[in-house]
């Protein structure tokens, strides 16, 4: 217990300094203060906590991290050049070590009425939409990392799409990490509010090429009636970095939410993706792909909370584990008593490329309604021998067959990604990993697999 206290102290002392410098506004200050007090009280989760049993966060808890200073945009230029969407994005907010970079950002082309800004923008503190939603969905009581992030709420993205508006090209939030002399910590925060019948595509990219640092992100998405949010997350942090993120999504009546989450970087990753289907006919699709190698540990916890009747949800997560990597998937489907006619399907599949890779997959159904359809399936294994033989029998070599099948296994998720720059990046990354030519024509296949829809 004393040790646990030690772990939290550095963050509390970071907080004292931070709170003096960051923007001054009474309600945000009290939000932060309550959060940091909560964090101080509970500390980091331990492995005796059910939700953290399979992921040892000691490397994070026992490291000393500093709040980052200013980084000149010039130092981030080359990483930015690799990951910017350019004209594929209608807007792009760029953050360097968690701090907004107006120089690299592009903010000019949004439809009238749509608002996208850095959360630290002082005007936002007065905005009722922000006051009503920020910190109201991702609960500090639920997760110590959310409490820690909330304690440091400052910079990040605020997106508001008013009623009936559609943003047709993706909005890109690009979080770049540039290592300095000290290990740094950043607490990116994203708040997306889609009013009734609004529509947008939001991409969060968390990118770093080298260095040890810790990204502790929280995203809240509130989707109004009949709205539609397509969300993509690309986590390609440095292989020495830590990445912990919570995404909390609230869906009103007939809102459609599609999430694609790709995790390929970071030494230790933990994602919590919680979706509350809070209005009738709300529809959630959660697809994920994990490509891990070396000693990477990538943990995805998802929760589909069916809190209203007649809601469908679909989930497909695919893991490709190489080297001595570990994948964790815990997919919970929670069906409340009121949520009759829930139709939920969850599939988790893992390809183990070595004997040393480990997959821990745990579906969890908790159902209190009596007229529902919930299914889940989980498979883990090496590349299928029958498939390899089929390809070889047509003249494709053994290694090439294995690479092609591994690629195809993951491409089953990536091909569903509608955001072209993300899909292309992932597929080219996978092709490079497997010595296959880039831009393979094996992507835009019609799906006959109803486990997750092509949306």
């Amino acid at each position: 217990m004393t040790e646990l206290m030690e772990d939290t102290i550095q963050h509390i002392s970071n907080f004292s300094r931070f709170n003096q410098e960051a923007m001054v506004n009474p309600w945000i200050e009290s939000l932060r203060k309550a959060a940091i007090e909560r964090f101080e009280q509970v500390g980091f989760p331990s492995r005796t906590d059910e939700a953290w049993r399979q992921t040892n966060i000691d490397p994070i808890a026992k490291s000393t991290f500093h709040l980052p200073g200013e980084v000149s945009p010039a130092d981030a230029q080359s990483l930015f050049d690799q990951f910017t969407f350019g004209n594929d994005a209608v807007c792009e907010l760029v953050f360097i070590n968690g701090r907004f970079s107006p120089e690299l950002s592009k903010q000019d082309e949004l439809p009238k009425g749509v608002r996208l800004a850095n959360l630290a923008d002082k005007i936002l503190a007065e905005c009722t939409a922000v006051q009503e939603h920020l910190g109201q969905f991702a609960k500090i009581e639920e997760n110590p990392f959310v409490a820690l992030n909330t304690g440091f709420i400052n910079e990040g993205a605020f997106l508001h799409i008013p009623r009936g508006k559609t943003v047709d090209r993706p909005i890109h939030l690009l979080f770049l990490s540039i290592p300095g002399e000290e290990k740094t910590i950043s607490h990116p925060r994203v708040l997306v509010i889609a009013d009734d019948n609004a529509e947008a595509t939001v991409v969060e990219s968390y990118i770093g090429s080298t260095g040890t640092y810790f990204t502790n992100a929280v995203t809240e998405i509130i989707a109004g009636k009949d709205s539609r949010i397509d969300h993509c997350k690309l986590q390609q942090e440095s292989l020495e970095a830590y990445h912990v993120a919570t995404m909390q999504v609230q869906l009103d009546r007939a809102a459609v939410f599609v999430s694609h989450s790709a995790n390929i970087g970071s030494k230790l990753t933990r994602n919590d993706l919680n979706v509350v289907l809070n209005g009738e006919f709300a529809d959630a699709t959660l697809n994920g792909v994990v490509l891990a190698n070396g000693t990477q540990h990538i943990d995805n916890h998802t929760l589909l909370d069916h809190a209203a009747p007649n809601c469908p949800s679909h989930e497909l997560y695919k893991h490709v584990l190489n080297g001595k990597s570990t994948g964790v998937f815990r997919g919970k489907i929670f069906v409340r008593q009121i949520a009759q006619k829930t139709d939920s399907k969850q599939t988790s599949k893992c390809l183990l490329l070595t004997d040393d890779a480990t997959m821990l997959s745990q579906p969890a159904l908790e159902i209190y309604a009596d007229d529902v359809k919930c299914t889940h399936g989980s498979t883990t294994g090496p590349v299928d021998d029958d498939m390899v033989f089929y390809l070889r029998s047509r003249g494709v070599g053994l290694e090439a067959s294995r690479h092609l099948l591994t690629y195809a296994f993951a491409a089953d998720v990536t091909r569903r990604i509608k955001v072209e720059p993300v899909r292309r990046r992932l597929e080219n990354y996978m092709a490079a990993q497997h010595g296959l030519p880039q831009d393979l024509r094996i992507t835009d296949l019609g799906s006959h697999d109803d486990s997750a829809r092509n949306m």
Binding site: L404, A408, A410, H448
Partner: protein
């Protein structure tokens, strides 16, 4: 020289011997049918010729165009011109038929010292063979066999066989699960491949397919051996009388 020569072939899985001394010679230009009850070893034979590693060959030999096939990987056999149309083709989500076929065709071409087919040449080849098998072009963009009906899968096998242009076509129970129209189409595709330089080995349970692909030789397989060989009339006789009389004949001979 025979195209395919199998001598005293013994093979099985783990401790169970399935093929117990198969002898078979196939010359270029011939169509052979192997018939037999379930479990007689006829599918195993086709798979062993293709090189499926599930089966261990314990003795005997297989030569194809004079090459010792047992020394070759399945892909090497394929590139030399052996093709197996599977009884149960696997579904391969995420790999489109056209991507895969192009990889297959070019692997064989490379082996023969030929340049890759360019996109236009490949499309021309594909279109021609699709017309032969009466296939919808959209099917090339679909993942291999994913969501296909049994008939579509079999048709896809024969289509691929036509594209790969093999010297030895092994067809494993291609007729099972086909309705009569599909059977005619598939047989038409196989017949189009008949020629003086090529041989076909049909493995089948029923005589029906042989009405459409008329064989030069019919072999009966029983308990891992070829126990009787005749012409197409033997197939008709089997259809009429079943297999038991052959069993008795074999027993009497011993």
């Amino acid at each position: 020289m025979a195209l395919l020569e199998i001598k005293n072939l013994h093979a099985g899985i783990k401790d169970r011997e399935i093929l117990k001394g198969v002898d078979l010679t196939i010359n270029a230009g011939e169509v052979h049918a192997i018939m037999g009850k379930n479990g007689s070893g006829k599918s195993t034979l086709a798979n062993v010729v293709m090189g499926r590693e599930t089966y261990e060959v314990t003795s005997g030999s297989i030569t194809f165009k004079g090459l010792d096939v047992l020394d070759m990987d399945p892909e090497e056999r394929a590139r030399e011109g052996v093709f197996l149309a599977f009884q149960y083709p696997v579904e391969i989500p995420g790999v489109s038929t056209d991507y895969f076929l192009k990889a297959a065709v070019n692997a064989s071409r490379k082996h023969k010292g030929l340049p890759d087919l360019n996109a236009a040449e490949f499309i021309k080849l594909i279109k021609e063979k699709m017309a032969l098998l009466k296939m919808d072009p959209s099917f090339m963009r679909r993942a291999i066999n994913e969501g296909f009906s049994g008939g579509e899968k079999k048709r896809n096998e024969i289509f691929q066989m036509a594209v790969c242009d093999p010297t030895l076509c092994l067809m494993d129970e291609t007729d099972s699960g086909l309705d009569i129209d599909a059977l005619r189409t598939v047989a038409g595709g196989a017949n189009a491949l008949r020629g003086p330089d090529r041989a076909i080995l049909l493995v089948t349970h029923y005589q029906r397919l042989l009405d459409y692909i008329v064989p030069d030789f019919v072999h009966v397989m029983m308990d891992g051996r070829i126990v009787k060989t005749g012409n197409k009339d033997l197939a008709l006789e089997l259809e009429e009388r079943g297999y038991d009389w052959i069993g008795k004949e074999v027993a009497a001979a011993i």
